[in-house]
Symmetry: C2
Subunit: 262 residues, 2 copies
């Protein structure tokens, strides 16, 4: 029997999603709970990897196991064992042939940064302070250039080994909200898949355009040439949240619809 879980975690104290020796990872903490629930070792498959420090409002995982616990009750059985920073939001029986790694069609990430004279302790956990003033209209203009099917070779960290660097970005939105006297910017990107560090590089480049340290021409050139060095630095992990993973069929109810934390 295959089960699908909608999970959420605060990435601050996780060394990423994937199991690694001697590290507290999302996979290892979930698999420890799964072994207690199912009585045997259980492997958890993720719809994709997230780096150390990255958060998730709605990651999707699946696992195979046999239990008399009804699918909908597995959520509670897991949550009794899980720590405060990792919880199962929904648990269901998987549709026929479902594989969360292969079946994911769209993912939405949100990157948050803010401008303020000082570090704001109440924003620092899920957002990154940046220097200077940024121009929302310029960021939106730059964001529009990324929408569509492109070769995003310039938008990936070195050392990544994806077979193809062509991805489709369905939307990139940039919003600004006043929070605690600061301006908080949310860059929300939906695509059919992402290269390693791609959203963090996109967020960095949009910030660079917004504060005048880069231009739309740089983005066009980077998309054309695949040259990473044309783009601004990768933004820190803690500003990134995986919000939503979508499949051919809708799996979860309202809780899958994320409205953003701010």
């Amino acid at each position: 029997m295959r089960y699908v879980f909608l999970i959420s975690f605060d990435g601050t104290h996780f060394s990423g999603s994937q199991r690694q020796p001697q590290c507290r990872t999302v996979q290892s903490v979930l698999e420890d709970a799964a072994q207690k629930v199912f009585g045997v070792p259980v492997k958890i498959a993720f719809s994709g990897r997230t780096d150390a420090g990255v958060h998730a409002a709605g990651q999707v995982v699946h696992l195979d196991g046999e239990t008399s616990i009804p699918a909908e009750k597995l959520r509670e059985a897991f949550n009794r064992l899980l720590p405060e920073d990792l919880k199962v939001l929904e648990s269901i029986a998987a549709p026929d042939g479902f594989d969360c790694t292969c079946s994911a069609r769209r993912k939405t990430y949100c990157y948050r940064f803010y401008t303020a004279a000082s570090t704001l302790p109440l924003l620092e956990r899920y957002a990154v302070r940046v220097e200077g003033r940024v121009d929302l209209a310029r960021m939106r203009e730059a964001a529009a250039l990324l929408v569509g099917e492109h070769d995003f070779a310039a938008f990936r960290a070195t050392g990544s080994s994806a077979k193809t660097t062509v991805r489709t970005v369905f939307s990139v939105t940039v919003d600004s909200t006043p929070v605690y006297g600061a301006n908080l910017y949310e860059v929300r990107v939906t695509g059919n898949g992402f290269l390693y560090n791609m959203v963090r590089i996109i967020a960095g480049e949009l910030y660079a355009v917004g504060c005048g340290r880069a231009s739309c021409a740089d983005i066009e050139q980077a998309l054309k040439t695949g040259d990473r060095t044309l783009l601004f630095r990768t933004m820190p992990a803690k500003g990134l949240t995986l919000e939503h993973v979508e499949f051919d069929v809708p799996l979860f109810g309202a809780q899958g619809e994320n409205d953003g934390i701010f």
Copy 2:
């Protein structure tokens, strides 16, 4: 020379604001930094105490000392020494006769709780999950009863030693925002002063009314009799944020205006 600081802190890892032996408190961390900046021990005075776990978006403190550093630059001098969870947002020379303890005229606190089937790791740091469904209109009706000058004796924790339990509440608002599939409720209270745990008791009672476990009549009765046992339990500290302290004269610019984190 007296200086006034606007400070913010994430209360999670502080044992409250006031210095205590062997504890990490806001006062002790600030005074350690102050001693390095001024070269002599410096006492920090707060506009009021906050409990362990309570956050502050805009607390106001003052201190007396002599330094050649311009008042506006003290912010940076302190922030270089302060940890990520406690920062100075603004530093100015105090107006004549200013005392942040005696001169505070209005304080605004926000209490956050949310309804969701599971604990949401990304909300848990600054909000508390509550059971059941709550009715916003009922909470607002109950909130209106608290506005005005009342004897809030029923709305304080036992063991508190305030001379008078009469306080003026200028406003109580209750708002609801959809966040990550949950409903997040923000109870925002502005008053001329607060008794020990008063906002946390108000938030608990409004929740109780919202979910049908208490009624407006209970609040009226509690205001009349001063009987704490008529009211719901005190809500946990982590949902509480001191947003704003106001004085006879406005001290700080836009950063003093808090728009709420969500």
